[in-house]
Symmetry: C2
Subunit: 212 residues, 2 copies
DNA sequence: GAGCATACCTACTCGTGCGTAGGGTTACGC
DNA sequence: GCGTAACCCTACGCACGAGTAGGTATGCTC
């Protein structure tokens, strides 16, 4: 019988992307464990053995998702924030690119941020990416500091950078839950908090605890 | 035979706390799905049916953990930050109490923050608690603003509060992973970022995006 | 010290979901 | 037009883990 087959035969590269799309979607909704390979396969419009043939086990599939979304995000940011710009300009462009990414790939963000953190085998992978970001931000701050002939202990710098990254992620989460919100506007608000605070620190202002 | 029994008989209230301790520990390590009731029971030094008898199903057990750790945290914060103090003082005391809690109950924090966020049935519960915190912070900022005769759109206020809460959570996470770090010192660093930034905003400073 | 409630156990059932065996069909090179 | 490789399926085995059935021992009350 040469009737039209129920499902088209497609080249591997295309199917793989469809599978990844489905996987990201399902993982983001259900979480790693609660997501079933059957549901992912069904959502991708394909049968389960194909998923195993192309992307491997459930863990490997999840890692593949992490990789795709992660590099997507990193490239978006790296592409926007040229290293030879002044610190505030770099920060602004980085933030804008980042919120743009989250706005465009909400599911991808949810997988990276909400799901991968808790699960033992993947937390490390994520922590690495996060650490790279923190390092970049810390480097930026340090650079700005040195330009003013000032210096701060490395730990403090790292912690401040950590706080900024955390605040940004948190707002990204807020953005992911508010489909109507504007990524650009959110980036501006984040910049307000981050930069006005950071600039104070850079200029040598320090808050000290009261002696009670 | 009246020999010493292998396991002591203990009153319900005590066993329940032991079970909750074990559950929080295991959930924090493995995540909700990967944690098994068998492991929790074993860790609590008790058999599985006892867990079901006292705390109910796995979901109910997890909710019980959430509740215990959540109220513990909320009470620590509420007890420290009296509402009639000036904003910076309140913020400082709240932060100190919060980081104190995280330092003391790292597993509890991990369950609340890392595990409960991704899992569908519990995310709502957590979001509510989080929302209460954001509201408190936003209220604090608003109060400080009005004292200076200024005002900000409610959305902006909420977003700034959200960013502050996010930054704090992020640092808490950092603290949870660095057992040697000092909660008090971490709180100070957070205060630096938060307050110097917030104070700038309160005084009417605004960052605006370049027109490119 | 008889009765009863409470604390506690071993040993099962049964559903769910990962991963695979084994086979069918379409395209493409030669 | 024929072999071969790539694409795709239905249908299963099997392990793991939630939840329970049914029973034992211990302390408390009167």
């Amino acid at each position: 019988m040469s009737t039209v087959p129920a499902f088209k035969r497609l080249p591997r590269a295309v199917r793989e992307q469809q599978m990844l799309d489905a996987a990201v979607k399902v993982f983001s909704r259900r979480g790693f464990h609660a997501a079933s390979m059957d549901e992912i396969a069904e959502d991708a419009g394909i049968s389960k053995p194909m998923v195993y043939a192309y992307l491997g086990t459930k863990e490997e599939l999840f890692v593949a998702c992490l990789h795709r979304e992660g590099t997507r995000m990193m490239q978006a940011i790296a592409g926007a924030a040229a290293p030879d710009l002044p610190a505030d300009e770099r920060l602004w462009r980085g933030l804008r690119a980042f919120f743009g990414f989250v706005g465009a790939y909400r599911d991808g963000w949810a997988v990276l941020y909400r799901q991968a953190r808790g699960e033992q085998p993947f937390a490390g992978e994520l922590a690495t990416m996060r650490a790279r970001l923190v390092e970049v931000v810390a480097g930026m701050l340090d650079h700005a500091l040195r330009a003013e002939g000032r210096e701060i202990a490395a730990v403090d710098l790292e912690v401040v950078a950590y706080a900024l990254v955390g605040a940004t992620e948190s707002l990204a989460d807020w953005l992911a839950d508010h489909p109507d919100a504007d990524p650009e506007k959110t980036a501006t608000r984040m910049m307000n908090v981050a930069w006005l605070g950071a600039a104070q620190l850079l200029h040598g202002a320090t808050w000290r605890p009261p002696v009670d």
